[in-house]
Symmetry: C2
Amino acid sequence: MARKKKGLLLVVSGPAGVGKGTVNAELMRRHPEIRMSVSATTRAPRPGEIDGVHYFFRTKEEFDRMIEENAFLEYMHVFGMNYYGTPRAFVDAEREKGNHVILEIDVKGAMRVKETCPDAVLVFIAPPSLKILKDRLVGRGTETQESIDVRTATALEELKLLPKYDYMVINDVVDEAVSEMECILTAELCRTDRNHDLINKLTGGETI
Amino acid sequence: MARKKKGLLLVVSGPAGVGKGTVNAELMRRHPEIRMSVSATTRAPRPGEIDGVHYFFRTKEEFDRMIEENAFLEYMHVFGMNYYGTPRAFVDAEREKGNHVILEIDVKGAMRVKETCPDAVLVFIAPPSLKILKDRLVGRGTETQESIDVRTATALEELKLLPKYDYMVINDVVDEAVSEMECILTAELCRTDRNHDLINKLTGGETI
């Protein structure tokens, strides 16, 4: 189709327990052309984990070389810990095919991606309230009280960075949150600053 | 509803024959809460035209006073011709109620509105090609060849200003164009810079 466009990079953050995974899974179920970004890591694969599917498993030397080659949209290394990063090549290749890529990442990672990929679309999934977030964490039944307190405090810190995101989607009813995500993708594809080629064709007399 | 938001001002432009009216009418049919902005003019009402519905009919003196009072989002006056303008009060009142307002206006008018109302959303409805636009004008059967040539030339000039708009919607299939407009409204309401109040409530521990 003549109007086929470059896909979007959708950077999705949100506090633990807000339902990012559920929202993204439903979005991908509705749109099979959406891909989930695959991270690279130096940690060892766990049983059942497949290279290139769950992670790109790399040695420390390979990871360091990728850093030198500017092969990451963002990466993180805490001294003495494993490296984690978002390889640029996978994201770029999918976007060139017209597929959207979702990158689920924490607030600091999202800020790094905004630097290296200014046309990324940053979406923050927020709970209807901190109380509801806490209730959801309690409802999981898998978190200790201490873990819940830490996560709630972290959530508050993350929410304060919400204005640095382009969009906020409140995950109250999952279906509605997913529909809003769909609209964000559609609207972003209509932005004139993503359509300079089409505009040039149009003013040049071509059909788009 | 706690999450009720200020409505949007949607400024819609596009060349003659592109189908702005059809797209906007269908959008309003799907969303009865959307209003069409009512212009003020100094021209005399035509038979059947109702003040406040088709236009706000004003005398030249009243219009001049409104200009002085900064009561217009934009206005236009060509020497010796009637005045036309977009009264700010109607737009603001509807938006405060949470209703969206559509303002159908030419490219120059849209640029004036962008100055006086920086949070307006500017959408340009484009044809799939200039050729198709011309065919539609011919298909109307009401335009002279000269009028068609003038309109096509004007359309090309207007298309060159497309990058000054926020969004472009291609009116190929009306239903798809309307769905894109709906998504633009939804996505704009999710923009963090339109949600500072909600973000403050959320970080303050309130439910939104």
